[in-house]
Structures are given as C-alpha cells and as structure tokens.
C-alpha cells in the first residue's frame, strides 16, 4: 500500500484589504467544498514557526494574491532561498523552506499559487475580476489535489 501524501495549503493575505484576501478566500472556498484532501491554513503573513510546520508535509502550496502576473493565476514550483526582507516581520515561502532545510534537514515539494488581484484598498470583498480569477485558480487546485502524488515526480 502506498504511503499517504500529506498536503498543506496556506492562504496568505489580509482579508481587510480587498484582493489581498485572495489567499484566505481560497482556503475558505476549499473548506466550504470540504473535498480537499489537504490541511488548510490561513496566514496574514509567514514567519519562522512555519519551518516547524512544513517539515511534516510532502507537498505544500503557498497561495497568495499577486499584482505582477500577466495571467489570472500562476502555479509554479519553488525552492529554498535565503533572501530575507529588510526589518520586516515576514518571511517569503522560499525563506521558510530554507529555514526548514537548515533546522530540520528537509523541505517538502513546494509550489506558489499566485492569483491576480487588482484592488488593495480597505474593504472585505474581492473585486469582480479577482473573484473570477479565484474561481479559475480554485478549479485548477481542486484538480491538482486529486493526484498530489504527481507533484512528487
């Protein structure tokens, strides 16, 4: 019997800043649908203790809003990186992976799911365009979660 693949999905962002809440909203939608064979976590931002958490997973997806991408969503594999932000209290997914590697000797297979956002003002609803992008990203992620073992190949 094959070992179960443990998957963790982070939704990162501030739901009080409209489209910045795309990551948390993605997690909420996955929770509503109840079908995702993955552990789901919401974070305003990532920090050092996530290195402890991710070490126990085979696959981790970091879902966050993006201003930069030229498509409605983008999914890419990421690896450890030692870049640390200046004087801030957050870490990039790549830095969390690097810290986990140094402290615990392992990193999971990791992916970034960027979802394009447009409106970053204060408010609790997503923009109409971001809602559409979220639905498309969710459709992709739901498919991905049906066979996470593929991600390990």
């Amino acid at each position: 019997m094959q070992k179960e693949i443990k998957v963790l999905i982070y939704g990162i962002g501030n739901p009080g800043r409209r489209d910045d809440g795309l990551g948390p909203r993605l997690i909420a939608r996955l929770q509503e649908e109840g079908a995702a064979a993955a552990d789901l976590e919401i974070r305003y931002q990532l920090n050092i203790e996530e290195a402890l958490k991710i070490k126990d997973y085979d696959v981790v997806v970091f879902a966050d809003a993006s201003k930069e991408i030229d498509s409605s969503w983008k999914f890419r594999e990421i690896g450890p990186s030692e870049t640390i932000a200046f004087t801030t209290h957050e870490m990039s997914p790549e830095s969390v992976l690097a810290l986990s590697q140094e402290l615990y000797g392992r990193t999971p297979k990791a992916f970034a799911l960027a979802i394009k956002g447009y409106d970053w003002e204060m408010g609790e609803s997503l923009s109409e365009e971001a809602e559409k992008n979220l639905s498309q990203a969710l459709e992709f992620l739901t498919d991905f979660l049906k066979s996470p073992r593929m991600a390990l190949k």
């Binding site: 931002q45 990039s92 960027a114």
Partner: protein
C-alpha cells in the same frame, strides 16, 4: 558630487519604509529622513461600524501584533459598556493578560532571534546572505531552534486565549468569551521539554545571558551606536512596576525627571499632541508640556525600563537591577540597549505567563460585566514596540463616529529619525564610497526600535530592499537590490 541615497522596500501597494540621506558635494550629510507609510485610512474605515466590532476589526491593521490592537480596542470598548478600565472580572482580566504576555513573549523572541541576533552574531559587514535567521540556523542551530519554538509557544498561548493565533476573538467589550481549561493550562505547564513554560523561562534567561556576554565583549558598539538623550514614555502599574496591560501614563526626561507623573491615560489628549510634517505620512507625537521641538519621546522596551521603578517578577527584577546599575540608576539612552531591555522583558513575560497559568482565576466562570453606557472610550496597552493608543467615540446607534489610533511605531517616529541621522553623520559622512556595511548600519539603527512596517499587505516575489543612488540633479547613478 551631491548624492541622494534611498533605501526602499518595494511592496505591492506602498513602500513600507524608506530611508533617504542627502549628501552635498563635499560628502557632508545635509538631510536624513526615515519615512513610513502609515495606515491612517483605517480610522476612516471604521467609522459607521458598531463599536463592539472594533476589537476584531482593528486586528486587521497588523499580522504581527494583532493582540495589541485587539486588547487596546477592547479596553476602549470596556469604557463604552461602563466597566472599564478597572471593572473586569478577575477571570476576564487575567485571560487578557495571559493573551497579552503570550504575545509579548513570541514577539520579543522573534525580534531577537530573527532580526537582532544576525546583526550581533555576524556583524554589520557580514554578507547579507548569511546575516539573517537562516544564517543563524547554519552557524548557531541551537539559537535558531529556540527562536522558532519560543515563537511557537507564545502563539499557542494566544490560540488558547484568543481562539486564533492571528485575529482572535477572545476579548469582547466588558470581558472575555472563554476561560482556560485545565487541559489547556496543563499543556503549557506540564508538556514534555521543550514546549513547557519552565523551559521557555530558561531559554529566555539564556538569551539575556547571551546578550550580557556579547555586551561585555562589544561595549563600544552596544553603548555608543546611535546613542542620544531623549524623553521616555510608557504605562506603569500604579505602584510604579512594569506592566504591559494596564496602568497609568508616566514620562521621564533623559535624566530621569518625571514629565508625566502617573496620569490617567484616558486624558491622553491633554498630554500628547501629534505634529504633521509635509514629508511624511506618519505623524510626530510630542508631550504638550515640552512643545513640538523638545517634547518627542521614545516608547518600547528601552523606555519602559526607564519609566518603571521595578519589575514585579524575581528573575527579571534581578536582571533589571544589573541593567539599571550599568547607568547608575539613570535613564538608559543607548539605542542598542533596547535589545537588552527587550530580552529582560522576554524573561519577565515568561515569568508572568507561569504565574497566570498557576492562578485558579483562569478557570473562573464569570467572564463578562456591563455597566452604564458611555459614548467615548480610550484604551491603552504596552504593545511589544511600545505604547499603543486607541480612542473611539460613538453615536446613539452604537456606530463609531471618530477613531484615533497612535501606534507604537508612530510614537517612535522621531527617535528612529534621530537614530538614522546618527548613522548618517557618524558612519556615512565624508566617506568616498557608500558600502553595504554602512547601509546595514542604517538598518541596525532602525531595527533596534523593532518598527512594525507590516500594517499593509504583502505579495509573492517582491524585492524587499532597493538602494538607489542619485546625483544632485536627480539622475539615478546606481541601484542595488537585495
């Protein structure tokens, strides 16, 4: 050639912090400024919302110290429902204290192990690729592991008291919505090493000892770097003891003379003004009795240990006595001693967490009180970075009509500018070339205040730091990113 040096983190929405240093043709510093984009729009955003939403709504200001905003807003709402600031049930007040000291513990641990220790362990001239927490993990794995687990311990305290690690709902106007079960209590008191409170206190003591040892070997750096006299402001307990959750407002000058003598913080507008400057979104608070020019003050660990007469837990009090003896009882105005003060507060937080866990009031059933309704409330707490003011007025429909927030980083606006100016004058001036190490020293000066630059949003794949060099005509000569 006259030059302008810009250090600017690039973010999705707005620059969180930017340093500009202008040099004239001879290399002398003619101006230095530290800009932070402040979240003032939030005060308008909450207008029209019911006051009882404030403790949850304001947490969205920040993912780093949401508990501070949560509790400051809850204290203001306590006043509005007629029980504040001293009328909470013992269970409610102690649960809030546990939440708050849990946050202080995790925040101070994060600052030391993640942000400060790389500067101390590797030095300002070290390669940025190793001068970070991952570098600490490579060279000093034990310290990095402690940092991760101390942060996690504090987060678990917050989870048990607030319901969530981020943006909890524990404090409500007039009280708290849960107590601490015996199972939750024992998970902190009796868990196997290392995730129990005794181990955490031991590690906190170890961090204080580490700093003292480092100080002994690096006195010139720690004592002299970005040191300047200032006033200091914080809450203190009514008997003068250190207290992060509640008390009276005290301010002292650089020699220890009291400027504010234990006044009721609800009257803060009588004592504190806010100056607007054209070049910064962030206001510059000052003590009205001293005026705009001389009334600026520091807040945070350094200020708190200058205003407090004692620390009401034994291990931290012992360290406080050593700390105070170093300045012969006078206020400490050495910027890098903020790290020392912060670690003493870390130790104190661990001790308070243990005291509270052993207190049976945490299992009490009386969680909420109500009194005579008021239409205005002020709440203050000592957040990890310093004094945090929340002030609300409401109308007859319970809607917020006015909100005024003075966050810790705003209180430290002028001191951080002074620290940057010290580095500019003492490190950068008259140098033919601006090196990476010089710019790192600007960061170190700012970092001592642990400013929260996170009251906005964050994105994947953004370059966190950009350094640009301009000539006197505004032409970009050089650009460095890291």
């Amino acid at each position: 050639m006259a030059r302008k040096i810009t250090i600017e983190p690039v973010t999705r929405i707005e620059g969180h912090g930017k340093v500009t240093i202008r040099l004239d043709d001879s290399g002398r510093v003619v101006q230095s400024r530290f800009h932070i984009v402040e979240f003032r729009g939030f005060e308008r955003f909450v207008q029209g919302r019911p006051y009882w939403e404030m403790p949850v709504l304001v947490e969205r200001l920040c993912g780093i110290c949401p508990v501070s905003h949560h509790l400051a807003a809850a204290k203001a709402a306590d006043v509005i429902v007629g029980v504040g600031p001293d009328g909470l049930t013992p269970t409610a007040e102690k649960m809030r204290r546990l939440m708050h000291y849990g946050q202080m513990f995790q925040s101070h641990a994060l600052h030391f192990f993640h942000l400060a220790s790389p500067d101390l362990l590797f030095g300002a001239d070290a390669d940025p690729a190793i001068r970070n927490v991952i570098g600490v993990a490579l060279k000093h794995k034990d310290l990095a592991v402690q940092g991760v687990l101390m942060r996690k311990f504090g987060q678990e305290i917050i989870l048990a008291t607030a319901g969530k690690k981020i943006h909890g709902t524990g404090a409500i106007p007039g009280g708290i919505n849960k107590n601490l079960s015996l199972e939750e209590r024992d998970s902190f008191l009796k868990a196997p090493d290392p995730m129990n409170v005794d181990k955490m206190i031991g590690w906190a003591q170890g961090a204080v000892d580490f700093f003292k040892d480092f100080h002994q070997k690096n006195k010139d750096l720690i004592d002299g770097f970005a040191a300047f006299p200032s006033n200091h402001l914080s809450l203190v307990r009514k008997d003068g003891g250190l207290d992060f959750y509640h008390g009276v407002l005290r301010a002292v000058d650089a020699d220890g003379k009291k400027i504010l003598n234990d006044v009721d913080y609800r009257n803060y507008l009588d004592y504190v003004g806010e100056e607007v400057k054209s070049w910064s979104y962030m206001k510059f608070p000052y003590l009205r009795s001293l005026g705009k020019t001389d009334g600026w003050y520091r807040v945070g660990p350094l200020a708190r240990l200058n205003t407090s007469d004692f620390i009401p837990t034994p291990l931290a009090q012992k360290e406080f006595e050593v700390y105070k003896a170093y300045t012969k009882g006078k206020p400490n105005n050495m910027t890098l001693h903020s790290h020392w003060a912060r670690l003493i507060e870390l130790l104190h937080s661990g001790e308070v967490i243990k005291e509270l866990l052993l207190d049976p009031d945490l299992q009490g059933e009386a969680l909420l009180k109500k009194g005579r309704k008021a239409h205005e409330g002020v709440g203050l707490v000592e957040a990890p970075r310093g004094t945090l003011f929340h002030h609300y007025r409401i109308n007859g429909d319970d809607q917020v009509t006015m909100a005024n927030l003075i966050v810790s980083t705003t209180n430290n606006n002028e001191p951080m500018n002074r620290a940057v100016h010290w580095v500019a004058k003492n490190i950068l001036e008259k140098k033919p070339e601006i090196t990476e190490g010089m710019l790192n020293r600007v960061e170190i000066a700012i970092r001592a205040y642990d400013p929260c630059l996170s009251c906005a949003t964050h994105a994947l794949g953004k370059m966190p730091l950009e350094v640009e060099l301009y000539d006197s005509r505004g032409r970009l000569l050089d650009c460095k990113k890291k």
